[in-house]
Structures are given as structure tokens and as C-alpha cells.
């Protein structure tokens, strides 16, 4: 057990920082610190251009094996990249669903032909992805997916009908990965398949959802006989649940460190304001700010544990607590931001409803404890899978 970075790692850090300083300027300067959670609607075209800039610099697919066109970097160097990216104010990634979720899924479950056809679009920053999991009746109970897919008469295409919801970036995406029921009459996690569906077709309608922030990052997506070629089925029919769950495991990767650097930027802003407006002299706020600071350190240490040791794909104890830990910490930070601002928090930047960064943080963090598995679901997972407690009774 040893912490600290080697000389080679520090040199790599310098290389990343230098590249970002050289490229995150000029036309890309307005993107600094923009486009993160709560701000994903901002600068979509410019952020797509930024993805191509990153790709040209060789900064997409850092963890992906070289045989798949990635760079196969060590965990340590991936950590460094994400830290430096957030430190430099790198914009929220339009390509994170493709790079972080689809890439590893294709590498693990795709055929060589699928890998050769689809990975380049991700690695070159050309094609963007969204996730078609949740439905109105399948939230926490994801296995209750009702979207269905059937083969057309030629047997060459799947026809997909149903509704997905809470789909981030659907209006910007070229592709959606869809969890759909391909076995008529099946129930629960049986009979589901994992389909990749091109978004550019009239049989798909995207409808933005106005959130309590007043902005729209999430969408409803309606599929009405939407078409995808049978080449776009990952795995076999019926493998959908297994693949969908494996994909969620990829979410808890090195990018968590980058997320924490964004959190650090937010906390630094709160500390700066507290020094200016006198909140730093309030004994209770001092305690809460210090608790937030140490809590963020603990999130980082959790991630370092999660990323060290054997990377055999198994979900370790540290990984199982991760979502509950960060979402709780972050929503507390949102409230702390308001309490540090005091009455200043009550006035908007502009009418009709233009939020400041910290107001947006306060409101948007209410979603952190809900999306990607609510805190209640997380507690069930921890209790059942980490602590071996009895499973929730299920009505058959």
C-alpha cells in the first residue's frame, strides 16, 4: 500500500496540463467550466467540436486496450488525466456515454465486426450516444422494461416500439443503446436484449423534459417501429440484462476522479465566497465547510481503493458504496452553498429563471440521489450484495 505518483506519472501530468493549456483556449475558451451536470444544455455544437479536438490529441479511449484503438494507459495515468482535465476546467464531455459506457461494453461483448464499425466513431469524437434504459414504468424496477423489439419480415431488422425516459443528451445523440423486450410475454430480466439504434429516423421522437431547474438535460424518447439492423444487437437475444448490468459497472471507473475534481471546483468557489462574505467566521458554517472538505477527500480515497488492486471486474465493497457516498455528499454541498450565500442565494442572475452556478448546484443535486439507482436502491444493493442480508420479497 503506497500513495504518491512516480516521476513518469508526474511527467505525464505535465504533458496533459500542457496540452490542455494549449488547446482549451481561443474558440474553446468559453467552454471552460461549462457543460457539466446541471449545465449540459450549454454549447452543444462547440462541445462536439471540442470532442474532435480531444480525439485529435489522443485523449479519448485512454483506458481502452490498444487492440481496440485505445491507448491502454495505466489506471494511475487515467486518474491523472481526469484530474488535470477537471483542474483546467475542461467542459462537460459530450462523449462520456460513448467513451465511458459503450466503448467498454463493445470491448467486452461486441463482435470484432461491431468493434471495428462502432469504436472509431467514439474514439474520433464523431459519434455521440445516449442511454435507453429507464421507462415510465421501469425506474428503480428496471427489469420491468416494456419497450419491445421484433424482427421484421425480412429478418434483417429489429423494429422497436415503446418509450424511454430521463434520457440525457438524446437530442444531441447519433445512437441510443436500448434495453428492449425481444421475447414476447417474457417478464423481469428474462427475454431482454441490448440493441444499438441510430437516432436519425422519423420513427424516433425526442421530447425534452423541463426540470425543476427550468432547464432541460433529460428527455423522453418515443420509439414507433424504429428500425435497427440485426448487426446492431450486442450479444444474443436474451442477453440484455447481463450486458446492461455490466455496463453499469463501467460507470464506476476512473472518471469518478474527474467528477471529484469538479466537486473540488465547486467547493473552492464556496470557500472563496465564505471568505469574502464573512460566512467563514460563522462557527457552524466553518464546521460544515470543513466536513465537506474532508468528505470530498474521503470520496477520493474511496476511489483510489476502488481503482487499486486486481481489476477483475468484480464489484468490490468500496464500489458498492460509491454512488450512495458521492450523491449524499454532493446534495449536502448544494445546501451548504445556499447557506454560505445567505440572502444572496434568493436572487437570480436574470429573469425569467437564470440560475447562478451555485443555485444550479443546489437544485440539480436533488437529482443525484435519484438517477443511476436511487439511494434507496443503493441501500438495498449494499444490504443484499455486500452484507448478505435477505432479499426484498418480490411479487411474482
Amino acid at each position: 500500500m503506497k500513495i504518491g505518483f512516480s516521476t513518469a506519472d508526474e511527467a505525464f501530468r505535465g504533458e496533459v496540463a500542457h496540452w490542455l493549456a494549449e488547446h482549451l483556449k481561443g474558440e474553446f475558451a468559453p467552454l471552460r467550466f461549462r457543460g457539466g451536470p446541471g449545465d449540459e444544455h450549454s454549447f452543444p455544437e462547440e462541445r462536439k467540436a471540442w470532442e474532435r479536438e480531444l480525439a485529435a490529441g489522443g485523449w479519448i479511449g485512454l483506458g481502452l486496450a490498444k487492440e481496440h484503438g485505445g491507448r491502454g494507459l495505466s489506471i494511475c495515468q487515467q486518474v491523472i488525466f481526469h484530474e488535470e482535465y477537471a483542474r483546467a476546467g475542461g467542459p462537460g464531455r459530450m462523449g462520456h456515454i460513448g467513451e465511458g459506457l459503450v466503448g467498454p461494453t463493445l470491448a467486452a461483448f461486441g463482435t470484432p465486426a461491431q468493434q471495428q464499425r462502432l469504436l472509431p466513431g467514439i474514439l474520433e469524437g464523431r459519434e455521440f450516444w445516449c442511454q435507453g434504459y429507464s421507462e415510465p414504468g421501469a425506474g428503480s424496477d428496471l427489469a420491468n422494461v416494456q419497450t419491445r423489439a421484433r424482427l421484421d419480415d425480412s429478418g434483417n431488422h429489429w423494429l422497436i416500439s415503446g418509450q424511454k425516459v430521463w434520457t440525457s443528451l438524446a437530442h444531441e445523440a447519433d445512437w441510443c443503446f436500448v434495453l428492449a423486450r425481444t421475447e414476447p410475454g417474457s417478464q423481469g430480466h428474462h427475454g431482454l436484449s441490448f440493441l444499438l439504434v441510430p437516432m436519425a429516423q422519423t420513427q424516433i421522437r425526442v421530447h425534452p423534459i423541463q426540470q425543476l431547474t427550468g432547464t432541460s438535460e433529460f428527455n423522453e424518447v418515443f420509439f414507433d417501429q424504429a428500425v435497427t439492423h440485426t448487426d446492431n444487437l450486442i450479444g444474443k437475444p436474451g442477453d440484455g440484462w447481463k450486458i446492461a448490468m455490466a455496463l453499469l459497472g463501467f460507470e464506476r471507473g476512473v472518471s469518478t476522479l474527474g467528477q471529484q475534481m469538479q466537486f473540488q471546483n465547486e467547493l473552492d468557489e464556496i470557500i472563496r465566497i465564505a471568505r469574502v462574505n464573512g460566512a467563514a467566521r460563522d462557527p457552524l458554517l466553518r464546521q460544515r465547510i470543513a466536513q465537506a472538505w474532508s468528505g470530498l477527500k474521503v470520496l477520493r480515497y474511496n476511489s483510489l481503493r476502488m481503482l487499486s488492486g486486481p481489476q477483475d471486474g468484480s464489484l468490490k465493497r468500496e464500489a458498492m458504496i460509491y454512488k450512495l457516498a458521492w450523491s449524499t455528499w454532493h446534495s449536502d454541498l448544494g445546501k451548504l452553498a445556499m447557506d454560505v450565500l445567505g440572502d444572496e442565494a434568493e436572487v437570480l442572475d436574470a429573469a425569467p429563471y437564470q440560475l447562478s452556478r451555485l443555485q444550479s448546484l443546489f437544485l440539480f443535486t436533488r437529482s443525484d440521489t435519484i438517477y443511476g439507482g436511487s439511494n434507496e436502491i443503493q441501500r438495498n444493493i449494499i444490504a443484499e450484495r455486500a452484507l448478505g442480508m435477505p432479499r426484498e420479497p418480490r411479487v411474482v
Binding site: M1, A290, S294, S308, L387, P390
Partner: protein, 390 residues
Amino acid sequence: MEFAFTEEHLMIRDSAERFLASASDSLAVRASMSRADGYDPEVWQRIGLELCWPALMVPERFGGMGLGFVELAILLEQSGRFLLGSPLFATACLATPALLLGDNPVVQERWLSAIAAGETTATLAFASGKGWDAQSVQTIAQPAAGGFVLDGVYTQVVDGTQADLLVVAARNPGSEGASGISLFALDADTAGITRTALPTLDQTRRLARVELHNVVVSDAQLLCGPDQGWAVLHDSLQIAAAGLAAEQAGGAQQALDLTLAYIAERRQFSRTIASFQAIKHRCADMMLQVECARSAVYYAACVVQEHLDPDGDVAVASELTMATATAKIHASEAFFHCAAESIQLHGGVGFTWEYDPHLYFKRARASEQLLGTPALHRERLAAHLFGEDA
């Protein structure tokens, strides 16, 4: 960067766990609680002479094993888990770091060799009243021919009556705050030292009042002088806090494990109470806190290891105060939370003397207080974050 246990670490952990599961089971803990000195001398002899735990962190040139603080933290996590009554914490975590950081090779040679040999117990005494800062050092070191005369009272010294060696802090007459503090190594039998055991709320750790009346010490007993005294004491206390946090993480884990075992057996409404979601979610929250405490403890242990190593990574070592404070905050809160939940989830029997949760609950409260409460450490973090400590 490899923030995971090595094979050797796992072996140390597993052998400590095996030893303590029998040598410090519930009956043994209760037997130690009822003894005046708070520990079983036979168990301590095995720890000192066969397992060599006190020698772990002592450099090889003093007859020690020359391992690091990470290995010690692994042991402390287990000793905390099993509520081991022993002079291990005071000797290895309070006195040994101060001796290692001091600058008198004669004192170091004599006492570190004795500790490594497994027969000498030691502790650290510094505060004359409330607080864990420099101002709490109120014992006076009056310069005299060839040495000093020490006068003062240390109000709560961990294992103060049992220790053979007292590392004590005292200040020059008229000095204030961080300046003028020296550290001395005193044989506990030195004339003028009175030690009184205090009855403690947590019976698994002993505290004593130690009084010094005209205690004559020679220059040869000076571990480090007033130019370095507070720096060494400060760092020693931070290191001890990291060690205590390791104990607390172990205690929190055991409070959770005891609870899980009980609720898996206890049936109400024709089902185990572990099957109720209200209980599952509380257990999940306990595990969340335990794992967060562990992460903070292991990180702090790595930082301490670099700090104590003369060739250690300077950038990592510089995180000492912040990393150890973070560990003490999170381990204190995790332990108290888990111990309190353990009583609640045991229901009525959790309120009895017979069942163990109260032992953890009392230990959690005492450990939270020892070496500074979470609120104190948060205040120190805040002072640093707002640039007030520069």
C-alpha cells in the same frame, strides 16, 4: 500508487485476527475490564515477545522490525475490533512516534531498544487540562544545574499507571503557546512522580492522573529541546490520532458485524428482523460509514509512513495534519454511529450488560474524545482552508 493491501499486509491482518479472536474474545475483554491494570499480562507478554507488535515500527538498528505505520495500522484495526486491553496503543502509537521523531540518539537507543525487546511499556503525557493544542502543555521545566526540575500535573494519561516509560512535555517558565516546549523521557519510577488510576466510563482503556513534584531530570533525558519540542509533539499527536482512527474503524466494523449476526437470528412477525427494509437500510448506512472510515484511515496511514521515513515522499508527508484529521473525524463518527445503531438494532438485549454493544458504545465515545473530537479537527481544517494558520 498502489492503494491496496499487499499479500504481506493480508497475512499480518489475518494472523492478528486469528490471535485476537481467541486472546481477546468477549470473556477475555470482560476479564481485563475487571483488572486494576486493564489488561492480561500473559496476553501482553505474547504480544511483546512472540508476536513482536511493539517492535513493528522500531528501526532495525534498535532491534526492531523496521516496518512502517501501514503495518501498525493494520494491527490496530484488529485490536480495536476486538477491544484489546493492552499497553499497545500507548506504547506503539503515543510514545514510539515521539521517540522516533526526537533528536537525542542516546534516549532513542535506550528506550526504542527496550520497547522493541517487548518488555517495556510507554506512554506520552502532555496536557494539564482541556485541549489537545500547545497551550494545554502547562508543566514547567525549570532549568537547573545539568538538567531541569519538572513540576506539573497531567490530567488524563493513557495507560499512565502501567507504563514503564513516560515521555512528557514541559515548557520553559514564562513561555506561551508553541514556543518553549521540550520533551523528556522519564523512567516512571523516578522520584517525585505520583500516578493515580482514574475510574473510566470506557473500561477497555485506562486513564491516569500523573503528577510531577520537583522531578529532577538530567540533560541526557531530554528527547528534544524547545526549538523542536512542539513540532515533535504535534506530529506525534497527529500520528497517534491516525492510529486511534485505525482502532475506531475496526471497532465500527465489529459493531456492524455483531449486529448483522444478531439480526440474522432474531425472529419477529415470523421472519428474521434482518429481512425488514427499515433494518437493511440502517445496516447499509453503517457499512457506508465503515468503508469511508477505512479509506480515510489507510490513506492517513500511508501519509504517516512517508512522514516517519527519512527518505519518504515529501509531497505525501506534507499532508500529515490534514490527512490524519480527516481520518480521526470520519473514524470517530463511523464508530459512534455504528455502536449506537448496534444497541438500537439489538433491541432490548442491546441495553443489557451481558451483550457486547455497550462495550463498543462506551469505547466509541471515549475514542471520539481522545486526541481531539471531530469538531476540534474540523475547526483545524477550517483554519487551514481559510488561511488563518499561516
